[in-house]
């Protein structure tokens, strides 16, 4: 078959369809993963003993368990105890668990870098612990955690490809289908590679813009 026809009429439409699913996976996962990450980080730093231990266990499990295995557990394992997810939902849940565990580590590190004295000062001003965390610690910590969180976001774009293994036809999945059908592996996967590189590059530029936008002049940033 003509290479040009293959590219324009078969590969590109398939890959664009796949890209949409990939972006959907990311769009659902990233915000929830960030919020959950913040909650876990706060719990692990300021929670009671029980909460600290639960958060620790969560992070150890989801950082140590390979994501692909987690997806298998959700998609193939849970139906055996009567909980069934669609492939897309299973992928999103898996990604959120993984993403939030890593995010929480970055945010926790940033929270610990905020001086202890600031919390004492906030208390002296009559703030409750909750107010102090929300108004004093988090605004600083989140800004410091941006490099880590953005790293994790880039990782998310890349590991979203694992959803293919549990039958979500996202970017990698659509490419695999086309490559297998037309036996054009090298061509297809080089084009997919360019798609991923484009998404990652655009995301990096976007993140840098966000980082610049929320920067406070004079507030030291790494």
């Amino acid at each position: 078959m003509d290479q040009i026809v293959f590219l324009t009429e078969i590969l590109f439409p398939a890959l664009i369809g796949g890209t949409v699913i990939t972006l959907e996976l990311i769009a659902v996962t990233a915000p929830i993963g960030l919020l959950l990450g913040i909650a876990i980080a706060v719990g692990r730093t300021y929670g009671s003993w029980t909460i600290v231990e639960i958060c620790k266990g969560y992070v150890i499990f989801f950082k140590g368990c390979p994501l692909l295995l987690l997806l298998f557990i959700l998609y193939f394992g849970f139906p055996t105890i009567g909980i069934t997810f669609t492939a897309f939902t299973a992928a999103v849940i898996g990604f959120i668990c993984c993403n939030s565990a890593y995010n929480s580590e970055y945010i926790r590190g940033a929270m610990l870098s905020v001086q202890q004295g600031q919390l004492i000062a906030a208390k002296a001003l009559g703030m409750t612990k909750r107010q102090a965390i929300i108004n004093i610690v988090l605004p600083q910590a989140l800004r410091r955690a941006i490099p880590g969180i953005s790293n994790e976001f880039i990782y998310l774009i890349k590991y979203s490809s694992l959803a293919y293994v549990i039958t979500v036809i996202e970017l990698t999945g659509s490419a695999k289908q086309v490559a297998t059908k037309y036996f054009m592996y090298t061509e297809t996967f080089i084009i997919v590679a360019l798609f991923y590189l484009a998404i990652v590059t655009v995301a990096t530029i976007g993140i840098n813009a966000i980082e610049k936008r929320v920067a406070i002049p004079g507030f030291v940033q790494k």
Partner: protein, 228 residues
């Protein structure tokens, strides 16, 4: 037969997967170290073309999902250069290694650049060649600074090696999936597999912390703990 005894029956088969998984991790850390260090040096001290080549390599291998790289090499590049029948383990090890090199070169680059430039100038003024200065002055310090970051590659690569499932390398995840399809016991087997991964992760990190302590020079750096 009870679930427990079935799992116990299959445990030897599963534990052979530990060796394969650790083999993949060793490939990735080993190739990554051997290639990553010269790449870091090339990116800092090399000529302009060398810098551009290394920069592009890093951009390519860090920007792509492992899964895409594995497919590209296993179905595309290796058959394309006439190595179609090569075992999946070698393809997996190679891909993880090439990828590891891209990541590790950046860890080493950061560490080398954190050594103040004056040290290079001082070494040169003492009559050392550039090579000797890098070998005897810069690297002994930089490698110690890089160690905590480099240790983080271990859990990263351990979890990532499981993606080699997709090209059929008989590592832990592949073997557990095979067992699942033989015994129809799903959740317990995957959970055993997860626990093995978490255990490997824990043991490895403990070992690396000991190594870090062993290599520590009193008074130097100490950034490892504090920086985290």
């Amino acid at each position: 037969m009870s679930t427990e005894s079935i799992i116990l029956d299959w445990l030897p088969y599963l534990s052979e997967g530990i060796a394969v998984t650790l083999g993949l991790v060793a490939c990735s850390l080993g190739i990554g170290l051997i290639m990553g260090l010269p790449m870091a040096l090339g990116q800092i001290y090399g000529s302009r073309p060398v810098q551009i080549i290394v920069g592009t390599y890093v951009w390519f291998f860090r920007g792509l999902p492992v899964l895409v790289l594995l497919f590209l090499f296993y179905f595309g590049i290796f058959p394309g250069i006439g190595l179609g029948g090569i075992p999946a383990f070698i393809v997996g090890g190679t891909v993880l290694g090439l990828r590891g090199a891209a990541y590790q070169s950046q860890i080493f680059r950061g560490a080398i650049q954190s050594i103040s430039e004056g040290q290079m100038t001082a070494a040169r003024s003492l009559g050392m060649s550039r090579f000797t200065a890098i070998k005897s002055i810069i690297l002994p310090q930089a490698m110690r600074i890089a160690l905590p970051g480099w240790s983080n590659e271990y859990p990263e690569m351990l979890t990532e090696s499981s993606v080699c499932y997709a090209i059929g390398v008989a590592e832990l995840l592949t073997r557990s999936s095979q067992i699942v399809s033989q015994t129809y016991i799903t959740l317990p087997i995957y959970i055993v597999c997860a626990l093995i991964f978490i255990l490997l992760n824990y043991i490895g990190m403990k070992g690396l912390t000991i190594l870090e302590k062993k290599l520590k020079i009193p008074g130097f750096g100490g950034g490892g703990e504090g920086a985290l």
